[in-house]
Structure formats: structure tokens, C-alpha cells
């Protein structure tokens, strides 16, 4: 199956958060299933959140 990739420029904080999340995924026993955009409401303000979906 052919491989494709998309790129998005991140802020420094977001890059650190994503890097730490990816580090927690063990490639031997877990499979990355996809990415989705969600949101988290903080003090009435909606903040976009990237959901990294993993299958174990």
C-alpha cells in the first residue's frame, strides 16, 4: 500500500505535547489508528485538542 503524508506547522508548546504523547505509544504492542480534532471547554472557552487514536 502506498504511503502518503501531510504536514502541519506547530507551536513550540504543541510540538512538545505531541512529542510526549507519541513517546508513550509502544510500537510493538500498539498501533496508531488515526488523528481527530476535538475540543475541550475551559472556563467557557472552547480550545481545539488533537486526539491521537491508538489501538492496543
Amino acid at each position: 500500500m502506498a504511503k502518503r503524508e501531510l504536514k502541519v506547522v506547530l507551536s513550540k508548546k504543541s510540538a512538545i505535547q505531541i512529542d510526549r504523547a507519541i513517546d508513550r505509544i509502544d510500537p510493538k504492542t500498539m498501533q496508531l489508528k488515526g488523528l481527530k480534532m476535538g475540543q475541550k471547554t475551559v472556563n467557557g472557552v472552547k480550545v481545539p485538542v488533537l486526539r491521537i487514536l491508538v489501538e492496543v
Binding site: Q17, A21, R24, K28, T29, M30, V42, N43, V45, V47
Partner: protein
């Protein structure tokens, strides 16, 4: 001529213009800009009187539209540059020139090669609006801006400006006839077979008002090598006003300062940082729960591994069809592979409910 006399003359001229035929079948568009300078050496001070008049008298067609006009000025430089005009940029346009200048500003002001072809569809014909002139129907739109600017200099610091005071006055006036136009309703057009040329009843009456836009912004700074005074003004009517008002750069430079866009940005940034902190806390709790579970799994007797999977299914940490995985695809499931599967199932991510379940499972199996 004193300022008072100038104002009287302007008022008299305006009343005469209103009474005459100017603007009935023609457009009168005027701007006047001045930087008046007063320099003193003892003490070293510098006074600038900035004044600008913008005004237009032109017909409003029966359907409520007006022809496009555009004028702008931008002066953002050191004091000496502004006085001698080297830091001043002005624009004065009527018709298609006003439409093109207002439509293509900012980052799209430099279109791709063959730029003249981009505007061919616009410049093939003169600017126009749909409608007919109604005798005597004119609008007057004018602004007067004056800024008294004073700077004092510090000889002991190389005559750098050390104090600035600014007096700002602005007057804006719009006198526009409102146009009442009858439009056929959607149902009436459908009943007439969708042919807009057929006069269809019933009608809905709408009031039309043309687009007029005038913005102004000033700034002053001192204490730098070239402290100075800056001003940016836009004046536009008709389609040129629509394009300027629709441009995000113009809106951001005006609207954000009116309603405090900085406040909205600050609230969002605060919420974003709190969301990061909240997720960090949940993430730490998740990692701690997973670590505890991994310790329990590492120390579990081989005979208890199948029962551990069963208890994870009961606690809904795993789905009821979950089985151990043959990770190395050698046809057998070894004890290390069973432990690896249990540890993977104990991975909570940032799921608060799953963290609680894994903590409970750890507590029940310790």
C-alpha cells in the same frame, strides 16, 4: 489665515455648493492635507499641526448606490521625514482605479505575472453602478481630522525626543438620502415563471443605503533615535468602500481596537494554557496508573496471566472478545507476549475513566 476664518470659509463654501448644481450630475471629491511646522531652539521644541479634510458630493442613484471614490494617506516616519514629505504616502482615485486599489491591497497587492491581464475585465469599461440619477438627490460625506503634536528634545541625550503630547480632533459627517425600492417577493417571481423582466406582485419594500467608509488612526513614540508621529487614513465610497471594509487588514486595524480583540485573544490563550496544564495532570495520572499496573503484571505468576486478562474484561478495561496476541507471529503465544498484551491494555492514555478502572484493577490484583 486663522483656523476660525478657515472654518467659516469652509462652511460658506459648503452651503454654496449644496445650493448649486455640484454633485447632481457630477462628482466633487476633495482632500487637503497639511503638516504645519513650528520649530524653536530655546528650549528645543517641535510642534506639528496635522490637518486633513476629505469630502465628496455626488449623486445617489435611484436604487441607492454611489460611484466609487478612494483616498488614503499614510505617514509613519520620524519627525523630520514627515515635515519634508519623505515619509508620506497618499492615494487619490476615482472609478476603476478606486476599485482596483481597494480590492488588491496588503498581501495580494502584487498579483502573479501578467498583472495587467488580471484587471482586464475591470478596466475594459468605465466604473458604473446600476440605476438612474434622480434630480437633486446627492450625498455629502466629509471628515476633518486635526492633530496638535508637540515634542520636546533633551540636549543631554543627543536631542532625542523625551516627551510627546498629542491633541486629536476628528469630525465626521454623512448626509445621505435613503432610497425606498420595491422588490418582487420570491413567491411572486416564481409565479411569474422566474422571469425577472416581468413585473411581479406582491412586492416587499426595502430601504437602500450606499456604502461610505472613513477610518483614521494615529500613533506617536519618543525616546528612540527618530521619535515621530504616524497617521493612516482611508476614505472610500461605493464598491471601493465595500472592498476596504471586507479586507481583514483594515477590519483588524480598526475593529480589534474598538472591542478589545486583545482581550479575546488573552482569554483564549489563558484557556489554552490551562487546557495544557489539565491534560498534563491527566497524562501524569495516566502514566502513573499504567506504571503501577506494569509492576503488578511483571510480578504476576505465569499461572495467573490468563485470569488477569479475564479480570480486565470484567472491569471493562478490555473488550469481551479480547485475546492474547502473537506479536512475533511464530505461531505460539509466549508468557512474555501475554505480559506485553496485559501492559498494552493497561495503557490509559488521557482517559479519566480508564485511569480509574486501571487503578481499581491494580488495587484488586496487588
Amino acid at each position: 489665515m486663522t483656523t476660525r476664518n478657515r472654518l467659516v470659509l469652509l462652511a460658506i463654501a459648503s452651503s454654496m455648493l449644496v445650493g448649486c448644481n455640484v454633485g447632481k450630475k457630477s462628482v466633487l471629491f476633495v482632500t487637503k492635507t497639511s503638516f504645519a511646522v513650528d520649530v524653536d531652539t530655546n528650549p528645543p521644541t517641535f510642534d506639528v499641526g496635522y490637518g486633513r479634510y476629505e469630502g465628496s458630493i455626488a449623486p445617489v442613484v435611484k436604487e441607492g448606490a454611489v460611484l466609487p471614490l478612494l483616498s488614503s494617506i499614510s505617514a509613519d516616519a520620524g519627525i523630520s521625514s514627515a515635515v519634508f514629505g519623505s515619509g508620506v504616502t497618499q492615494n487619490f482615485a476615482v472609478g476603476n482605479a478606486a476599485i482596483i486599489m481597494s480590492q488588491y491591497i496588503g498581501e495580494i497587492s502584487n498579483p502573479a505575472d501578467g498583472h495587467r491581464d488580471v484587471f482586464t475585465t475591470i478596466i475594459d469599461k468605465p466604473a458604473s453602478v446600476i440605476g438612474t440619477i434622480v434630480e437633486g438627490e446627492r450625498y455629502f460625506f466629509g471628515t476633518k481630522t486635526s492633530v496638535g503634536f508637540t515634542a520636546s528634545f533633551a540636549p543631554e541625550r543627543g536631542f532625542a525626543p523625551d516627551a510627546i503630547s498629542l491633541g486629536y480632533k476628528r469630525k465626521e459627517l454623512a448626509y445621505v438620502p435613503i432610497k425606498q425600492v420595491n422588490h418582487p417577493t420570491v413567491a411572486a417571481i416564481a409565479a411569474a415563471g422566474g422571469n425577472p423582466a416581468v413585473i411581479a406582485t406582491p412586492v416587499v419594500t426595502k430601504l437602500h443605503l450606499p456604502s461610505l467608509l472613513a477610518t483614521s488612526g494615529t500613533s506617536a513614540n519618543a525616546g528612540s533615535n527618530q521619535g515621530g508621529f504616524g497617521v493612516t487614513q482611508f476614505y472610500a465610497t461605493g464598491e471601493a468602500a465595500n472592498f476596504l471594509a471586507a479586507h481583514p487588514v483594515i477590519r483588524n486595524s480598526v475593529i480589534s481596537k474598538i472591542i478589545g480583540d486583545d482581550t479575546i485573544e488573552a482569554k483564549f490563550e489563558a484557556a489554552r494554557l490551562k487546557a495544557i496544564d489539565d491534560l498534563d495532570i491527566i497524562g501524569v495520572k495516566g502514566e502513573l496508573a499504567t506504571l503501577k499496573a506494569e509492576n503488578v503484571i511483571d510480578n504476576m505468576p505465569v499461572a495467573d496471566l490468563d485470569g488477569a486478562l479475564a479480570s480486565m474484561i470484567v472491569d471493562t478495561i478490555a473488550v469481551n472478545t479480547e485475546v492474547f496476541s502473537d506479536y512475533d507471529s511464530d505461531g505460539t503465544i509466549s508468557d512474555p507476549e501475554k505480559r506485553a498484551k496485559l501492559k498494552a491494555l493497561a495503557f490509559t492514555g488521557d482517559d479519566k475513566e480508564l485511569i480509574k478502572k486501571v487503578n481499581k484493577w491494580v488495587s484488586d490484583n496487588s
